[in-house]
Structure formats: structure tokens, C-alpha cells
């Protein structure tokens, strides 16, 4: 766990305005060459960000998926084959064998939405160290 210090080096990327995101829905954000799915779970007053690519068939689709909960845990369902993933830690809820999603922190300042990226690393590779 020697590199935990890098965890604090979050770079906050301005994604969009809060009202650019539909209530209880998602949009896709372009960050460098990456695609990030950003969700406003307005019913719970929560924001989430994950990779946009569904690991199942590598489709850039999760931002167009439906969100909801399973036993109180927020999740998103891919529009293609309805595999569901936890918005909290990205793990696949419908199929243990499926890969997890990368997740990113989100912060709101007034009407601006920011997504957090870790300097050089992403969160997933850090927690694996």
C-alpha cells in the first residue's frame, strides 16, 4: 500500500452543468480519449460516474442504461442485454463471472459537475496494489 498517497492527488474534470443530465438518468462525458458514464440519481440526490463501456460485449452504452436499486444498492442496467452493475463499486450484480466497471468520484459545485481522476492511476489499479 505504498502508493496510497497518490489517492489524494485527484484531478477534477469539469464535465457539464447539473441540468444537462436528465433526472434519474445518465449522459456520456468525453474525457481525453475516454468515455465516462455520468448518472444523476435524483431520487436519492446522488451522482455516480463509471466507465461508459459495458464489459459484456464492449459496447459504449452504459450512459444510456436505466438506473435503479437492488436491495437498496444503486445500479445501472446495460441497454444491450440488461446486465446490471453496482454504481457504488462497479461490480456486476447479475453475473459473478463478468468484469467490474471502473468507478470515479463526482463532485458538484453550484451547478457544475466534476468527475475525479487520479493522477496517472485509476482507482481500480490502486485498490489492487
Amino acid at each position: 500500500m505504498s502508493s496510497t498517497t497518490t489517492l489524494t492527488e485527484v484531478h477534477w474534470f469539469f464535465a457539464c452543468k447539473t441540468d444537462d443530465v436528465p433526472l434519474n438518468g445518465g449522459v456520456c462525458v468525453k474525457y481525453k480519449e475516454e468515455q465516462i458514464a455520468l448518472f444523476h440519481f435524483s431520487r436519492r440526490e446522488e451522482w455516480y460516474a463509471t466507465q461508459n463501456m459495458c464489459p459484456h460485449k464492449h459496447q459504449m452504452a452504459l450512459s444510456r442504461g436505466m438506473i435503479g436499486t437492488q436491495n437498496g444498492e444503486p445500479k445501472v442496467a446495460c441497454p444491450f442485454h440488461k446486465k446490471t452493475f453496482s454504481l457504488e463499486d462497479g461490480r456486476c450484480l447479475s453475473d459473478e463471472a463478468e468484469c467490474s466497471l471502473k468507478t470515479y468520484p463526482v463532485k458538484i459545485e453550484e451547478d457544475r459537475v466534476y468527475i475525479g481522476f487520479y493522477g496517472g492511476f485509476d482507482k481500480l489499479s490502486l485498490t489492487n496494489i
Partner: protein, 831 residues
Amino acid sequence: MKVVVIGNGMVGYKFCEKLVAKFEPGTYSLMVFGEEPRPAYDRVHLSEFFSGKSADDLLMAPANWYADNNIILHTGDPVKEINREKKAILSHKGLTVEYDYLVLATGSAAFVPPIPGVDKKGVFLYRTIEDLEMMTAHASKAKRGAVIGGGLLGLEAAKAMIDLGVTDTHVIEFAPRLMPRQIDDSGSKILQSKLETLGLTIFTNKNTSCITGDESITGMQFSDGTSIDVDMLVISAGIKPRDELAKAAGLETGPRGGIVVNEKMQTTDETIFAIGECALFNGMIYGLVAPGYEMADVVVATLSAAEKAFAGFDMSTKLKLIGVDVASFGDPFVPAADCRTVVFEDTMKGVYKRINISTDGKYLLGGVLIGDAAAYNMLLQTTKNKVALPENPEDILLGSRGGDAPQGVGVAGLPADAVICSCEGITKGAICSAVEAGNETFDSIKKCTKAATCCGGCAPMVKDIITYTLKSQGKYIRNVVCEHFNYSRQELYDLIKIKKIKSYDDVLDELGHGDGCEVCKPVVASILASLWNEMILVKGNDTAQDSNDRYLANIQKGGTYSVVPRIPGGEITPEKLIVIGEVAKKYNLYTKVTGGQRIDLFGAHVSDLPAIWEELIAAGFESGHAYGKALRTVKSCVGSTWCRFGLHDSVSFAIQIEERYRGLRAPHKIKSAVSGCIRECAEAQSKDFGIIATERGWNLYVGGNGGSKPQHAILLAADLDSETCIKYIDRFLMFYIKTADPLTRTATWLNKLEGGMDYLRNVVINDSLGINAELEAEMQSLVDNYKCEWKEVVDNPELRKRFNHFVNAPEEKDPSIQFEMMRDQKKAAGW
């Protein structure tokens, strides 16, 4: 305790799973050697490799499962030698590992008969993923194929060839009939003629004498002097147990192969076990997974000092071969003198059923089902558990024919120790107790008992047992929508209507709990649309729509969308055709005439959708609702305007109907058609509602569909005038919309409706429920409220914004989308 497993196939894997579950971590060390390059995968579903499953999809457990459970797995490293004195094994890569207990799970290999020429290029086996990869590579060049062996695996291999595009395929069987070991003579005949209608050529009584060709196969010669030309061959002539390691180590093996084991699965060395397809028990090799899993269980029990013995295993099977159900259970071949046999045969439909009943008429001994094996689970359980038969035993095959309720044996009649899921060995009692302990859904039963998680064949029966247990606990069984709503769809529909609720969030607040999910959202969204017919993308209802509804288009492979303008009755002017062509050209869309008499434009970027529709709408088109659980097409034949047989103008009537019900949202999609005479060129009897012209008016049929389970519509009323016909359709559709479960087509709904067609006729024609005036008024208000949803999007800048791919780069398209070219048009790149 040091345990080494040789072979990481289905049974070897199951042994690890059972061992890990039984023993505390730290009390054992477990090492597995597998010869194949990847961890254990599901061989039973191997053929799904051809219908799109990847090697990863087929894995029994992900690669990290082994490490997570402290199992050391060496793949691609076969064991070469067993040293029984030193109690150690030597692997191909040179590892020496000592064991306290050794488990041989080496399975079997395909048996290759000594025919000259079997080593030629283009000759394959059918057992591993590598075999399938090699077949795939070769098949693109092959035109005519053959399979040696007309047993279960041979027929699967033949199906695989057809899937690979080698449609001219022969099956060559040495015995006088197909599947000689599982089914009887008449059953084989029906199966054969069914498979022949699907395009296979079948030779029985044929013995291959040699395979011809220089380097690659070009043909086959048979001992009767005939020959055929083929450029691809799969050999599936049986299996040969992998006993070579055991033999070399001096363990006893059978004369025709197989490692001899006792009832504890011990070989002649009591520290060495053999399980699965390599084990020979009582002179028999068990070539199915369920007995292999049972053997694995016996070894784990023995290692934990529990008493458990293998007592042979029932070899009943149910399969779908090339789309044809084939099942055999118990003893399918009891000689006529020792039993009473009931046979049902329908050569037209290709259905054959035979049951063997004890001479006293009390018990079921076994039987064969071809073409329709729906009764398999029940018959198998009745046989295995010696359940007493009803007074007229033939009823369990044919249903009661006296008008009373069917006399069959239900799940209630099964004893608690009846094994329901034979793959995992789960009894009825175990399922009932799990339900009583609060696991009241199919999913939670699957999780906590593992029933129905392997081949899935027992799933319908597991569901029946859950319902039966809940009912016997006095619980009211309802088809609740999901964890967020404690109501069925019909109850929700009524409540939303009475309370006049108009948005998803309000429905959730008033009638549900929690925050919703992908199951209840589209159900509620569809009810709201059926009730109020408001624009589906407003009032916060947009994100409650199924993804296709939300973008008013069907999403496709790669993430593009399709555009399907409505073409009522299939009638279109040359001017409009030109507009479609121009739009397709401008936005580079793949263009195809659909099976529903209209034109589909595929491959549109989400951000192009509003512009495309703007142009189409300007030319007079409107949404075709190809994306919605809504009215699709009303097909029509050309009718009396041109056709010399036409009785009425079917095109005009089809257009009138399509325009009346366009945009109507329902529990599932609805299709219709109008034919101008009984020749039925519009195929109206395959639709949810279909209309056929008669001398005196129209015949109205309801409850048909094509799709995976085709069913013909049934006549609701005859010789109607146009106005009455529409009135009946209004009532029928509205009654369906109000009462059907989610995603249930009219055919399935009607099949489940208590009282069936007689009841429906009474409601729709005789107004037995006194609701017809209400049904008609509700339909009229939906018709009056219709607006084209694409027009509303095109005219509304706020809604248009929702169709950008990137929220922070609206002008950019998704760069990951890729196309390939085929016959001068684009197609989506593969997954």
C-alpha cells in the same frame, strides 16, 4: 490432507467446488492439473460456441476463482505418470507433486474408428473448444459435410455444421436407426423425418470403408459400394475413456476401457479415486454430467469420513436436437409382454410419445418423447418415485378427454425425497424447506439451493414447487412486478387508473417503495402510456422508458440505431420511396425491406436521429414504433383492387386499422394483418389479431404469433361488417392491455386466460363482464390522443438535446463505432 486432481473438466471442477464447500480452509491443500489450455468449461453447452458464446462465457468459474479458493491450477500441463509407491505424480512440464489422495477426472476422448484416411485434413472431432475453433476455420471453405455417428453427439455436430453454413450435411449411422441407445424404433423414424425436413440427409445401415482425397478429404466410400463427395467430416462414433495413466500405473481397467471403481469411487488403490467419464462402475461408463457430479459428491463425502455410496444413476435425458425435443426416461424399451404401452403419434406435426406402464396399470416404467417433451419432468418424477397412476393412465400422456380438469400427477404428488434437479442432486424437500425459510423467488432458490443452475431443465418444475409450497402455506400467490412493487401488472394498472397518476416517480411514491429498477420502470411506463397516451419522453418519464423507447429507435450491435418509418398496409408511393432512398444515402444507412412490409434503415448515429426524422416527417412519414411494445405493422395483401380472387379491399382496411391503433402501447408488441380472401397471402392467422375477407364480410382471428413459439390465431367471430369488426378489436385489445402480464404476447395471454377462447368470446361479444362500453370509450380516447412522438422530438430543442452522444462535445460522434462493407452497403462490425 494433500489432494491432487488430474483433469480439469466438468466433473474435476465440480469436485473442487464441492470440496471447498465441505472443508474448512486450511485443512487441505488442493492442486489441479489440466491438459487443456483453459480452466474447466461447460462442455454440455459446447455447441453454443457457434451461437455466439465465447470461450470465456462457457467457463465453469472465472480463472481467479481457483486462486480465491486456495486451489493451485496448472492448465496446459497434463500429468504423465503416477508413482504409487512414492504417492507422487509427474507432470509434462516436470513438476513432481506428492499426494495423500489422488482423484482421476480425466474424462474421455472421442472414439475414432480405424477407417483408412481419418487423418486427412478436414476431418474433425467434436469434444473441445479447440476442435470447434478448427472446424470454424475450415467451414468457410467447405460446402458439403458429413458426420459419422447418428447418436446424441453426432446430431449436435450436424447442427453445428449447419450453423457454420455447411447446409448440405449428411449423417451416417451404422445402426438401422438414429439414437439407437436412447429411443425406440418409431421414435427414431419420426425424429429422422423431422430432421430431414430441416435439411439434413440421413443414411442408416451405412458403414464407412474409407475416406478419400489426397491431403484433404474429398469424399467417403461405404461398404455397400456407394460413395459421396464431402469436404468436411466430423467423427462422432462414441467415446473412449481416458484410462491410459491409470493403466500404466497398474490400476485395474475394463476390457473396453474405463478405470474400475467401487461404490466409493475408489480404484484398486484405495487412495486413488476415479470420477466422471473415465470411471467404470458395475461395467458401465456414465457419459452424462449428472452422474459425474454425483460421483464427485461421493468422493468428497468419503474424504470427510461420511458414509455415501454411488448407487448407479438414472440415464434419462432431455435434449433439443436441431430444434426438435427428444427425451427418454426410465426404461424406454420394456418388452411388450412385460408392460402396457400407450403410444401417441402425429406424423404431420412430428410428435411421438410412448409410455410404458406396469401390467397392473399402477406405475410408469419409462418412455420416449419426440417433438414435444413438455411433460418430461413430470413423467420422469412419476417413474422415479413410483407415484401411483390415475385410473386412466393414458391421461398423463394425452390429458383428460372428458371435459374435466386434467387428471395428471402434479408436484403435490411427489415424495419429499424426489430428486428434482439431478445435476446438483436437489430434492423436492430441500426446495420446499428453502421456500419455507423465506426464499420465495426463483432467483433466491437458485442462489441458496443451486437447483436449476446447471442445465436448467428442471426450471419449470422448480417454479411449480415454489408456487405449490407458498400456496400450501396459505400465501396468496401473485405475480408481483419486482422488489419495488408488491402488485401484479394488472393490479398496478387498475390502481394507477383509479388514482389518475401520471408519472413514474409518483407511482413509485404512492404505490411502491425504494428507487425502482430496470424491471418496474418499463412496466409502469407502458401502463402510463396505455392509460393516458401522453408523449412518452416528458414529465420525467423519459428515463423510465426502456432504452429503445427512450431513444425512439432500436439500439443495435455497436451502438447505432435503426429508423423505421410507418408504411401502413405496405402501400407506398414512388415519391416517398425516393425520399427514403435519399435519406439513406445522405446519412449512409444500411437499407433493408423488413418482414413486416416496410423499410428499415440501420446504422444511424444517435445524434443523427432527429435530423433524419425531420426530413422523413417533412415528406409525410411518421414513427413506425418499431422500438416500442406497441402496434407494429398491419400487413396486407393487395386485395380486390387488383387481385382476381380478392373479395374486399384489404389494403384500405389494413390502412384504416393501422392508423386507428398506431402508437398504442401494450404489455408486448402487437401485430396484425388483413387478407383479401381465404388464400391468406397476408398471413393474418399468424398475428395477434388477423382479418380475412369472406363473401359476407370479415372473419376476425385473435391470439396468433410467429416468433420462437409460433401459434395460429383462433376465430373470434365470423362474417362481420367493418364497423363491428373494429368494435370487437377495440374491446379485445383493451381487455388484453388491462389484464396481461408484462412482456406477454396475446397468444400466451390467451393460453393462460382461465376459460380460454370461450371466456374471451363471452367478454368481447356477449359483454359478460359488462365492461364493453368502457373498453370502447378508453380505446377511443387513446385513438384521439395519438401524436407522432418523433414529430414532437423534432420540434422540441430540449428533447433534441437528449440525442447527443457526448454531453460535453455535442457535435462529436461516438468514435468507437465501426462498420464493415458487405454487398455494397455497410454492416455493424462484429462484437
